[in-house]
Subunit: 126 residues, 2 copies
DNA sequence: ATCTCTGCAAAGGCTTTGCACATAG
DNA sequence: CTATGTGCAAAGCCTTTGCAGAGAT
């Protein structure tokens, strides 16, 4: 049976508080504010468990280790700023993706990652 | 100055022959048919060099190590079969991606990864 | 002959695992 | 009390690097 522990609480709180994709290291750092002796292995174990329960999902940027994010009801895509390396969540979804695949393929999911410059990096003065 | 070696030839041939994203391991295995003593480090070095020359580019599937593919002139997207793990190249490109980002963001690139079942896996009999 | 490239093995990241102790139920 | 969860350290991937020798020019 699954137990409720201080560590898991802290980890889940971090995902809840930051509403964006976080790396295991970021999670560790933040969760340690509440649970100082927390170990990285526990973070990985918690992430894996939450992911397989479908409560967390991975967001990957080409060439980087995955970051994880709370699944909310909605489906969205991301924008990766090439300058500050932050990932932003976008509203809305592309349509007409069906026309990209030849006959016979069955689309069950899709991911879209936009990249470029975020407003802050685009306009550094002010 | 850059030298022409049997190893690099073999590696480039592999990318040319398979017209799809390949992992370093796959490249090693195939290139060794022609250059048996080829080492994995050499494959990585060649990939890195070709990538920074802009002749090869990385394709990443969430949670997997990157695969690399020859850059041809055109831009395309991919379909990842959840059953056989193969990656297929797609023709065409989504449009209207601009509407996904709020004002102030500058889109410089995008990646789309569709997933599901390829024709072969969808219809295993025959 | 020179200077780059290669193979090998060692070293580096990130992630997972083994194990004894801690602790929720 | 008992079985799951945790921290630590070790082990496992994948990728990069150091180095001496091989090979292209």
């Amino acid at each position: 049976m699954e137990r409720r522990t201080a560590q898991r609480e802290s980890i889940q709180q971090v995902f809840a508080r930051f509403n964006r994709p976080l790396s295991p290291q970021e999670v560790l750092k933040e969760a340690r504010r509440r649970t100082p002796r927390l170990g990285l292995a526990t973070v990985y174990r918690a992430i894996r468990a939450l992911e397989s329960e479908g409560r967390l999902h991975a967001v990957t940027i080409s060439g980087q280790s995955p970051r994880y994010e709370w699944c909310d009801a909605s489906h969205h895509h991301y924008f990766h700023c090439a300058a500050c390396d932050q990932v932003f969540k976008l509203e809305g979804c592309a349509d007409n993706l069906d026309r990209l695949v030849p006959k016979g393929f069955k689309i069950e999911g899709h991911e879209i990652m936009l990249s470029g410059k975020c407003p802050a990096c685009r306009n550094p003065r002010r």
